[in-house]
């Protein structure tokens, strides 16, 4: 399999007045061409920062301080703003959480779509319009010719998210980063949008990074899952392995916390405690204070990702090398 994007030891720091906060801590991930990877974790685990760092659009005090992002053979983390602009929306596009907010309220859908096409491709207006119509059909928008002249407020939430997806497809990117694309939609539409994304990725052979906290969604759409905790990947494996046979105590906790896992009990399961503040990380494993299966050395040493026999990589002394 050909590698699409190779993230090596990526580190993102936010330099605040009160000190440096490390939001992404030495994350290494590889995505092959046409592969779908899910990134799961609690709020504040650094999922979105990781997503934004891939296209170098982390909001102000944040900076990539270490690591490489090799995309199609080039390290794009070192690219200048102008160089990056040619990649963004062209080779890598992004879908956001809330489709109500990501479309400009005063421009028609057509204007916003054409703009993207014309910014990245050398085509005439007529051809650009054809591309827009084609992509709108791909996301099953009925009578797209009419829709191009309409404003975002004339669409429903689900329709808008489809348009956002259509915009991200315009330049036939190699990779789509979807940052919780269904969180703002209601449940019936969620499945629809997810199916659509899945279908498009398969037919167009696009890579997908799906950032979400919804394990159910991620297991259906993606092939591999990375579990992020406090800016670190704690478990990485195939979707099937992670869901059916979670290794890291945190992943186990997450899966147990799903409402359907409570199994008729009055109370839902939860992981006790809170994620440590990024300002004062424990010296050892970041999950140690909440861990039910902690060992003595977890307090002082940070476990690294190690591969198990099942092929899953996990960062936990309990699961690998705990006895050594």
């Amino acid at each position: 399999m050909e590698t699409l994007i190779d993230i090596k030891n990526l580190r993102v720091d936010f330099e605040l007045r009160s000190g440096t906060v490390r939001a992404v801590r030495d994350v290494s991930l590889t995505i092959n061409k046409g592969e779908r990877l899910g990134i799961v974790g609690e709020s504040g685990a650094g999922k979105s920062v990781l997503g934004f760092s891939l296209i170098n659009l982390i909001s102000k005090p944040g900076k990539i301080t270490n690591g490489e992002i090799i995309f199609q053979g080039n390290d794009i983390s070192k690219y200048s703003y102008e160089q990056m602009r040619k990649i963004r929306g062209n080779r890598i596009s992004m879908i956001f959480q809330d489709p109500m907010m990501t479309l400009n309220p005063v421009l028609t859908i057509g204007t916003q779509m054409m703009e993207t096409v014309l910014a990245h491709m050398d085509v005439s207006k007529k051809e650009a319009e054809e591309i827009c119509l084609d992509k709108l059909r791909k996301v099953y928008i009925p009578s797209p010719e009419k829709r191009l002249a309409q404003y975002p407020h004339e669409f429903s939430g689900g329709m808008r998210q489809r348009i956002v997806i259509a915009i991200s497809l315009l330049t036939s990117p190699n990779l789509i980063i979807a940052d919780e694309p269904t969180t703002a939609l209601d449940v019936t539409i969620q499945a629809e949008i997810m199916d659509l994304l899945l279908e498009l990725c398969e037919t167009e052979n696009m890579g997908l990074i799906l950032i979400t906290h919804d394990l159910a969604v991620v297991s259906e759409v993606t092939q591999r899952i990375a579990v992020l905790y406090a800016g670190k990947v704690v478990e990485l494996g195939t979707a099937e392995q992670i869901i059916n046979n979670p290794q890291h105590p945190y992943t186990q906790g997450l899966i147990k916390a799903l409402p359907q896992m409570a199994g008729g009990a009055k109370r839902l399961n939860q992981i006790p405690g809170m994620m440590p503040s990024l300002r004062d990380m424990p010296t050892g494993c970041p999950f140690e204070p909440r861990c039910a299966a902690k060992l003595e050395r977890c307090k002082h040493e940070i476990p690294t990702l190690k591969e198990l026999e099942s092929g899953t990589q996990v960062a936990c002394y309990q699961r690998n090398g705990g006895d050594k």
Binding site: I55, L57, R85, K86, I87, R88, G89, N90, S93, M94, F96, D98, M101, T102, L103, N104, P105, V106, L107, T111, E115, T116, A119, H120, K146, A149, V164, I167
Partner: protein
């Protein structure tokens, strides 16, 4: 497909406009005033700029309904024997041109400065301090200063020719910080929104994001202040003319007509001052009332209930 006209006909804007009797009346009055001002060369009974037709013997004739009035001059004549109605129509045209022109200039400078200082943070401090400095001078002070210099430089005869553009520039330069501040405030609010982020993710250039994405979203407050600013600019022009620094008496605006008549008010020729005064008050009142309606309409709090 619906045309723009159909869309407009069905819009909530037109609906609420027709429902509001004040706005509707003001709009009708304003239209009549503007149309009559700009068709002055056609509808005015006399040409006040043509000195050949003016008879000094006709000076200070009372309006037609009072004693000593002549049916030739509906609202009487001024001190130079010009028909007051015609002069007022021509004068209103001058006033409106200066008012609108000055506001266009203000808006042009103000929007560019506001966009830049709102979006390019490095420029913010310096541009806003310049705006503060500009605001700390009163409009009249700036106008008197520049006006006096230009009048001495060109002499009275030359000044006649440059008076209109000069007044536009003076009033335009004096008030642009109003726009700059309003636009900057909106830009600061808009740039945090996700569609701006999305536009950056798409890979659009900064200039394009600024012009095509942020600017249209900041235009509703700009529209509101524009109406008020037109009225303000007309007032400023009238005030400057009243002080003798605006339009010369040979090409009077409403303000210079009021001044010209002011000298004769105690000799009984009240109409030379009163009629242009009423017209000026009426013009500014309807513009302001329309501005109020626009503000209420565009205010999302009132609009969405």
């Amino acid at each position: 497909m619906r045309t723009r006209w159909q869309r407009f006909k069905d819009s909530y804007m037109l609906h609420s406009f027709l429902r509001d009797p004040v706005a509707l009346t003001c709009f009708i009055i304003l239209s009549i005033l503007v149309i009559s001002a700009f068709s002055a060369p056609i509808i005015a009974p006399h040409d006040p700029y043509d000195s050949a037709t003016i008879e000094i013997m006709d000076a200070q004739i009372a309006p037609v309904w009072s004693e000593g009035g002549s049916s030739k001059f509906l609202l009487g004549t001024d001190a130079q024997g010009r028909d007051l109605l015609s002069t007022m129509l021509y004068g209103m045209r001058v006033s409106i041109i200066i008012g609108v022109g000055a506001v266009c200039l203000q808006a042009f400078i103000g929007i560019i400065v506001g966009l830049l200082s709102g979006y390019v943070r490095r420029l913010d401090n310096i541009l806003m301090r310049i705006a503060d400095v500009q605001l700390s001078f009163s409009t009249y002070m700036v106008a008197i200063f520049i006006g006096a210099i230009v009048q001495t430089a060109f002499g009275v005869a030359g000044y006649d020719k440059v008076a209109v553009p000069l007044l536009i520039v003076i009033i335009g330069l004096a008030e642009w910080p109003q726009y700059a501040r309003t636009v900057r405030a909106s830009v600061l609010a808009e740039r945090k929104k996700e569609y701006v982020e999305a536009a950056r993710v798409i890979g659009l250039s900064r200039v394009r994001i600024m012009w095509r994405h942020i600017l249209p979203n900041t235009l509703s407050p700009v529209l509101v202040i524009s109406t008020v600013q037109v009225a303000n600019a007309i007032m400023s022009e009238a005030a400057l003319s009243f002080l003798g620094l605006g339009m010369p008496v040979t090409k009077p605006s409403l303000g210079s007509l009021i001044t010209a008549g002011f000298e004769y008010i105690f000799s009984g020729s009240w109409w030379i001052t009163i009629f242009p005064g009423i017209l000026l008050v009426g013009l500014i009142l309807v513009i302001n009332l329309l501005g109020d309606w626009v503000r209420d309409f565009l205010n999302p709090k009132l609009y969405k209930g």
